[in-house]
């Protein structure tokens, strides 16, 4: 069972602002029944650009209903300028937090808001306007993923799935999502830090091995040890069952190198040394 905050439970069991605003002049509709959640947001903006009324209709789980209700509460009385600054994190914060697997409910709210405001201004909806579909199962574009990654500082594939649902279906887009994560990381690193010192690199590699790699290997009775780092060459040694496993080379190249490139530095080359 999910651990929801009292605020989520309250807004789920007794949602505020359910329904449709009469004579709405801003409408946003996102999601679909096939995807498992959908939200229709209707707003009435007055002549001074203030949101007078906000209502929602949701198909979805408890946190989707609560997120939509929270959003309408946050919107009432705000100006359009204030409203467009609302982030998905603020929706989650209003609810006292959401389980990480449910963060996509807050993203759904923010997307509906964005659409509604675009509709108010008579602009085409952003989703249709740009981006190419990455996740076919849930119809998520690269722009949506990039945005969620940047705004929420996401670093792993799992994060991306939790926030956008992308990659949560057939999984065939996982490589593309990792690529997007690498691109954004590389771009952020080149902006902030042109080069990583060797000490930082070793620390980050150790950290990644500990958090991301070892738990998976240990499930199969294996382990891994960092032997040395020379430039971008990472020398590793397999332990336990991994040391005698014929698939260890594949594990090294695909899994370990993938993780290290994703989370540490995109140019790393992993090499297995026998010790």
């Amino acid at each position: 069972m999910w651990e929801y905050t009292d605020k989520v439970k309250e807004l789920f069991l007794d949602p505020k602002n359910a329904g449709v605003v009469e004579s709405a002049n801003a409408v946003g509709e996102v999601g679909s029944m096939a995807c498992g959640d959908a939200l229709k947001l209707t707003l009435r903006v007055n002549e001074e650009g203030k949101i007078e009324d906000a209502r929602f209709q949701t198909f979805g789980c408890a946190s989707a209903i609560a997120s939509a209700s929270a959003l309408t509460e946050m919107l009432k009385g705000k100006s359009v300028e204030e409203a467009e600054k609302i982030t998905n994190q603020e929706i989650a914060d209003y609810l006292g937090g959401l389980p990480k697997e449910k963060m996509h409910c807050s993203v759904l709210g923010q997307e509906a808001l964005e659409q509604a405001l675009a509709n108010y201004r008579g602009e085409p909806s952003k989703k249709e306007e740009e981006g190419e579909i990455v996740c076919e199962c849930f119809g998520i574009t690269d722009r949506q993923i990039e945005r969620a990654v940047r705004e929420n500082n996401l670093t792993t594939l799992e994060d991306v799935t939790n926030y956008t649902k992308a990659g949560g279906g057939c999984e065939s887009c996982h490589d593309r999502i990792r690529e997007i994560l690498r691109e954004i990381r590389a771009e952020q690193q080149s902006n902030v830090r042109p080069e990583m010192s060797n000490i930082q690199k070793i620390r980050r590699i150790e950290e990644t091995l500990e958090k991301e790699v070892r738990p998976a290997l240990k499930q199969d009775g294996g382990d891994i040890e960092l032997v040395d780092v020379i430039g971008n060459r990472v020398l590793l040694s397999m332990r336990g069952t991994c040391a005698v496993c014929k698939a260890s080379e594949q594990t090294m190249k695909n899994f370990v190198q993938g993780k290290l490139r994703e989370l540490v530095w995109p140019d790393l080359e992993v090499e297995e040394v026998r010790s």
């Binding site: 498992g36 198909f59 789980c61 408890a62 209903i65 949560g168 698939a247």
Partner: protein, 393 residues
Amino acid sequence: MKTVYLDNNATTRVAPEVVEAMMPFFSDFYGNPSSAHRFGGQVAGTLREARAHVAALLGAEPEEILFTSCGTESDNTAVLSALAVNPGKRHVVISRVEHPAIHTLGQHLAKQGYEVTEIPVDGQGRLDMDRYADSLRPGTAVVSLMWANNETGVIFPVEEAARMARDQGILFHTDAVQIAGKVPIRLKESTVDMLSISGHKLHAPKGVGVLYVRKGTPFSPYLIGGHQERNRRGGTENTPGVVALGRACELAAGSMERENTEVRRLRDKLETELTARVPNSKVNGRDSERLPNTSNISFEFVEGEAILLMMDEFGICASSGSACTSGSLQPSHVLRAMGVPFTMAHGSIRFSLSIYNAEEEIDFVIEKVPPIIERLRSLSPFWDPSAKSCESG
């Protein structure tokens, strides 16, 4: 608030008679049955009795019963054993609707280079027997098909499938976790080679399971260690658990008729009433042969987790095949395999009864659920009371 427990395919209440039988084995008769002293040795006799009760429920011999820690261990042991004793055969046949204990194992084996064929089911959850017949070949090491589905209760013709495997010299395993104790099983009269059951699905505690291995079936242990279970499963016996399971099997044999009369009547009443009172709802697998206690109902245009949480406010316990409930993002693989449309799959609720359910509880659920669905539909952007059902689409 009173609890109305209709989630017996998830786990069951331990029967009071079972608790009574197992308690002395914690602090009075706590000896190790392998010990040389009488204090430990006396426990071995009780284990023998328990083994005989389990064998009786399954129509098997006591020496064909191997105690494990759970249904998943039994399932894994069976399939991995079949692969180990057939090193040249790299093909495994399962169904598309298996429990994760087999389904995920199948995916794991596929990654290791085994060829895994998943037999499809039709819209009523029935196994495609033609595809099954076509899938069997000399390189097939093992077939594993569940006897009854945990989500829909649909029963597969496992005895017939086992005969077809036997004709081609292929080992056959079945996950009988949901069916044991609900429908008579006579393994002596079948050609099933291995069969799994789980204690906590039939009113014994969690942490004990059984793998039946037919006499003469080649076997390779999964847990390697001591000589327990005639060298087939290392690890000190879970004596209270085994005693409990023995008692639970004895009780199950006695209550099987009630499962098929009283429990079935309450289940039928529940699903007939709910689908009559709630428009755009339907029972998944209704036309198939099903377990007497299980009903999987889809309520169109609403989401299962939201239904569960609202039922929870009334103390009603059930489960859902919706995506949001499980933490995965797609609805149940069972309902998808049956081709249940998304509009229906997301709003599916599984009610699973037991002999402990009373008529008032069923009446309570029949009264409480329709307004919940109506309330959630009133929040849904897709619900139009005049809309035609999508179920034919």
